[in-house]
């Protein structure tokens, strides 16, 4: 009972943070929305009995990634008004992609409805088995993710450079 209430509460918090992230204008507000979403997700993981994932969620995403984001936003914040416009030109493609994603997720969820929605918590997700599985079975996936991150960084630079050639 308590768990269900908390589950819905933190889900709502995660959604609210995501909405704030999408509609807020100032980068720092966006970062705050993202932080609250990530904390709420960590709470959800903890509720589902996978403490280790919850801890890593806070440790890596909030403690490392978001700390750097907040630091950079603070460092580069020259009170520049470029973020006054709420929507960019990519609004329509973005909305379309979001709709497709939502529809796909909904379809998947509908197909598996009534099935096992709870992740397999418990012993598999204690620190030791988790680390062993991570470094023995999933190291290639992990490394591929980092390659993906490099691609994203290159893409971000390309997007910035492509817009009127204004070098930082």
């Amino acid at each position: 009972m308590t768990e269900t209430v908390l589950l819905y509460l933190f889900s709502a918090a995660a959604l609210a943070g995501a909405v704030v992230m999408l509609i807020a204008r100032h980068p720092m507000r966006v970062a705050l929305g993202l932080i609250s979403t990530m904390l709420a997700l960590a709470c959800l993981y903890a509720l589902l009995g996978v403490h280790v994932i919850a801890v890593f969620q806070v440790l890596i995403y909030v403690g490392a990634v978001m700390v750097f984001m907040v630091f950079v936003i603070m460092l580069l914040d020259t009170r520049d008004p470029s973020f006054v416009a709420r929507y960019s030109r990519l609004l329509l493609p973005g909305a379309l992609t979001a709709a497709v994603l939502a529809a796909t997720l909904a379809a998947l969820l509908a197909r598996h409805h009534g099935g096992r929605l709870r992740p397999p918590g418990g012993a598999d997700f204690h620190l030791q088995p988790f680390s062993v599985a991570f470094l023995r079975d999933y190291w290639l996936h992990f490394e591929l993710t980092s390659v993906l991150l490099v691609v994203v960084v290159v893409a971000a630079i390309a997007v910035i450079r492509g817009r009127g050639g204004r070098d930082g």
């Binding site: 720092m28 507000r29 806070v58 440790l59 909030v62 700390v67 630091f71 936003i73 620190l127």
Partner: protein, 382 residues
């Protein structure tokens, strides 16, 4: 195994009371110890007068902490016009709350069996013993680092949102300093994790209950004395206290990132700093000083070398272990205050060079040596 709900509630109340008491007492300890070190009489003016009598309880100025708290609460809550209202309001809380949360995974005593303490409860609890720790998680040490990373965001939000150049400079300094020293702090611990083979704080403390070479207690500081030194240094830097108090250096930046805060909002920053002294002390005690362990004290009583054993009742063991932990924490708090009143402040470039070019290589060397030693010892054992 986590404790049942009633016991957990008692633990939480105990932990909150303990931390808030430490936060209040340490403001007095700081001033009194500074006075003793400077050969002054020191804080001795605040007193409580017993109503309708002329009896004044001075108690060496112990009530100064209380007077401070009341002053913070009753002062005008001056409303600055911040650059960002939300971040300005969030700042103190994001700094304060994670500091309190860290204590959830620190074991503050051995195991307690409620059924053996109170015969009345024997029916419901039987002989089962529970660790004296709010949340016994197998990822305990990672939780500590996860939460202490959150405080950085709080300081940066506070300084950035304040619409004040001094505050912004303080926040920039705080951000870069905390990120640098957090790295060092994490690296110094890795060697210890290698030796203990776990990050579960309760298991770490239990491993420190024996003796090494027959005489020395098997505390972390005996295995990793160098890491202990580096860890304490990095932890004091994390807490932004002299000699690492650049983010709030009053002769350069007024009060740094919390210049624009007043009354209890500023009090929360101060409170967080003083509670963090206690948290650092508790963490250091847990990792390097054997936590609640006294040499030769086991759950059954004292077992001295040579086979002499004194059995102690369960209640006495529990109380002794809790007091041992508290005493160690208190001594370490006092040591941190000693450092604070001994060393002068770094210059900014010195501070960052100290982190990246001195402490980080040393931590890496320490880790390398530990890895080699552990591998060699495992090879011997195999």
């Amino acid at each position: 195994m986590n404790a049942p709900l009633p016991l957990t509630v008692i633990y939480v109340v105990y932990a909150l009371g303990l931390l808030l008491t430490f936060g209040t007492i340490l403001t007095w300890v700081e001033r009194k110890q500074a006075a003793v070190m400077a050969d002054r009489i020191g804080a001795n003016r605040a007193y409580v007068r017993i109503p309708f009598t002329q009896i004044k309880l001075i108690w060496m100025g112990l009530f100064h902490g209380l007077a401070d708290g009341i002053k913070m609460l009753l002062k005008e809550d001056f409303r600055a016009v911040p650059y960002d209202r939300v971040a300005y309001a969030l700042g103190p809380w994001v700094t304060f709350i994670p500091v309190m949360l860290v204590f959830a995974v620190i074991p503050f005593g051995g195991s307690v069996a409620p059924g053996r303490l109170f015969p009345l409860l024997a029916g419901s609890y039987g002989d089962r013993a529970f660790p004296m720790q709010i949340a016994s998680l197998d990822a305990g040490l990672l939780v500590v680092f996860a939460f202490s990373g959150l405080t950085i965001i709080g300081t940066m939000l506070a300084g950035w949102s304040s619409a004040n150049k001094f505050a912004l400079l303080g926040a920039l300094r705080a951000g870069s300093q905390l990120i640098s020293y957090e790295l060092v702090m994490g690296l110094t611990i890795v060697g210890l994790i290698l030796i203990y083979g776990t990050v579960d704080l309760d298991a770490i403390v239990r491993q420190q209950s024996g003796t090494v070479l027959g005489v020395l207690p098997a505390w972390g500081i005996c295995y990793q004395p160098f890491a202990a030194l580096l860890f304490l240094t990095a932890a004091i830097a994390e807490n932004k206290r002299i000699p690492f108090d650049l983010p709030e250096a009053e002769s350069e930046l007024i009060a740094g990132y919390y210049t624009e805060y007043s009354a209890m909002k500023m009090g929360l920053f101060m409170f967080a700093e003083f509670i963090e002294i206690a948290i650092i002390a508790a963490l250091f005690t847990t990792l390097f000083l054997g936590g609640y362990n006294l040499p030769w004290l086991t759950d059954a009583g004292f077992v001295l070398p040579g086979g002499h054993a004194f059995a102690l009742p369960h209640a006495l063991v529990v109380v002794t272990q809790m007091l041992t932990f508290l005493l160690k924490v208190l001594l370490l708090c006092s040591f941190q205050i000693l450092v604070r009143w001994t060393l002068p402040r770094f210059r900014w470039d010195q501070l960052l060079r100290f982190a990246w070019k001195f402490m980080l290589p040393l931590a890496l060397v320490n880790l390398g040596v530990t890895v080699a030693a552990v591998a060699w010892l495992r090879g011997l054992a195999a």
